[in-house]
């Protein structure tokens, strides 16, 4: 309980910090002084609060999505960016831009989610064909499949001058988040709650098809539900802010090192830590090269691949 309280407190502290850090200055005195002209409040409500919420929702839901994937695939190193899911969603966005550029954002997101499901299904189909040699085989194939799908997207982007849009979803960036442009991420928040409520089922499904059936649950249906949540979260995050890599690997692994694999118990920690890590990295990106911002995708690319290497090379790594 104390640990949970500490985690919540840490996240709240970071979130408050996030409200006051950025190029335009928002100060407490500016907000509270009677002589305030409202500029500070405007900046706070239109830019900082939406940005902070977007970061918290995206970070928490991506971390939980990674955790669900790891449970269902029974592999510690899968997450949307190491299973072809994210790149497939991006290809979906690319095709929508080409074929139906006028579709509303919500429809675009749904199509991206459909592609994310297809991409993940393709990934699982490849895995089923391959004799499983080592747990590392799984992310290896996933990264490469992502590369192949990504090459398709870049081909389309080159051909039809959409390279800028391509960059928008390959590198996550919260600096464009404003009131009215992030609200889809509330759905991520909802999906994270659903994942929390149904967590036990994923834990059971992670123990295998036979075990699940034995307990009277429908293994297929749980798998489908889990993958749908993952695909929706990925598609939502990519359409609104772009790809946030590695969160789904680092956070669940860190939590499971500390407290084991009971998903119901660890979901809150995974969500809080995911949100906290993305917030911290975004703050870092805002501060380090002030007044310019470094997008979250770049910061997390460095932090995330460093942590991933640590997980891979850790002594006596009990992979699997």
């Amino acid at each position: 309980m104390i640990r949970l309280a500490a985690a919540v407190f840490g996240l709240v502290a970071l979130a408050v910090l996030s409200l006051f850090v950025g190029v335009g200055s928002v100060t407490l005195s500016g907000l509270l002084s009677p002589a305030a002209n409202g500029n500070d409040w405007e900046l706070l409500l239109i830019s900082r609060v939406p940005r902070t919420l977007a970061i918290v929702f995206a970070g928490a839901s991506m971390a939980v999505a990674g955790m669900i994937m790891q449970m269902l695939a029974r592999n510690r190193f899968v997450e949307p960016s190491t299973a072809g899911t994210a790149d497939a969603a991006g290809l979906g966005i690319m095709l929508v831009m080409l074929l139906a550029p006028d579709l509303p954002v919500f429809a675009r997101m749904l199509i991206a989610a459909a592609f994310a499901i297809l991409g993940t299904a393709l990934f699982l189909a490849i895995l089923r064909r391959a004799p499983l040699r080592s747990p590392l085989f799984v992310p290896l194939i996933g990264l490469m499949l992502g590369g192949v799908i990504g090459a398709l997207s870049s081909f389309l982007a080159y051909r039809y001058d959409l390279l800028q849009s391509l960059a928008a979803w390959t590198t996550g960036d919260f600096s464009m988040v404003l009131l009215g442009r992030y609200e889809l991420l509330w759905i991520c928040f909802g999906l994270t709650l659903i994942a929390y409520v149904t967590a036990d089922r994923f834990t059971v499904a992670g123990l295998g098809r036979d075990f699940t059936t034995n307990l009277g649950l429908n293994h297929r249906r749980i798998m489908a539900a889990g993958l749908t949540i993952v695909a929706l979260v990925t598609a939502l995050v990519i359409t609104t802010v772009g790809m946030i890599p590695f969160i789904g690997i680092i956070v669940p692994n860190a939590v499971s090192l500390a407290m084991g694999d009971n998903m119901r118990r660890s979901v809150p920690y995974v969500a809080l830590l995911g949100a906290g890590l993305v917030l911290a990295c975004d703050l870092l990106g805002r501060v380090v090269n002030h007044p310019f911002e470094i997008p979250i995708g770049t910061v997390l690319g460095v932090v995330g691949s460093g942590c991933f290497l640590y997980l891979l090379l850790r002594k006596r790594a009990h992979v699997g």
């Binding site: 190193f77 490849i126 064909r129 391959a130 004799p131 040699r133 080592s134 590392l136 085989f137 992310p139 290896l140 194939i141 990264l143 490469m144 499949l145 590369g147 192949v148 090459a151 398709l152 870049s154 081909f155 080159y158 051909r159 380090v288 090269n289 310019f292 470094i294 997008p295 770049t298 910061v299 690319g301 460095v302 691949s305 460093g306 991933f308 290497l309 891979l312 090379l313």
Partner: protein, 319 residues
Amino acid sequence: MSARTRSLRVIGATGVLAVCAMLAFMTLDAGGRWDFVLPFRGTKLAAMLLVGYAIAVSTVLFQTITNNRILTPSTMGFDALYVLIQTTFVFALGSEAFSSLDRRIVFLIEAGAMIIFANLLYRMLFSGAVRGLHLILLVGIVFGILFRSLSNLMQRMIDPTAFVALQDRFFASFNAVDQQLLGVSALVVLAASVAVWRLRHVYDVLALGRDAAIGLGVEHRRAVFAILSIVAVLVSISTALVGPVTFFGLLVANFAYQMIPSHRHVFVIPAAVLIAFLVLVGGQVILERIFAFDTALSIVIEFIGGIVFIVLVVRGTAR
């Protein structure tokens, strides 16, 4: 027919096809403006040949010292490492000081740094601490991602306006080949080829594996260091000229192994080089003249190469 004659025939046939592709590249749709077309396409062709040669030779040699047909310098993060060295250089000097330096000298310094760091990376991956092929591959790939992200981060930290001015100077692609570097790269490739030639008796022995090679009297450590340095220089050249191309080496090396019925490097290396010429130049002709996509060659290579890679890993040719 002996393996020797069959290998020679394959090499001969590939060579003829490669020459045809080069002729097609130089002459198709020229529109009579030879005084413009020949030098313009000539530099592009020269760059493609240099890059094809560098990637083919470096990949085959790398696979010989690692005893493996799936690991390549670029999947192990070597060309990302070169980009990181380039970026660090600009970052450390500041973009103004950097732009006043002679490109060719900068390139030579970067290639020198690349020899040191490539050897360090290799030691780290292959000293025995990282066990198992899949782990080595995954660690190599993630190192590549780390190097790319670090380069990205530094590029973001450089003043944006100065960065835009520098961008095309240090990001090459097949379509924006760095002309200033062609001459010096050709010289370096020549020097590297002399080194490759002088080590020619070692490769077939090294391919038998570390223990067998030592048993047969090869100074394993020194030979690996020398070959890896050559690989590092060749990777620097191809990356400096056209930027990172992840799967090209994997493609040409594996084509060469498939087509040549012999394990001897006298046959495999020339075949890989000629296949590289054929794929690069022929691919460019097809894309440019038939489909009218001129920018896409490296993307198409990534796409096909990625699929081949997945097939190779799934089928488990990884030994």
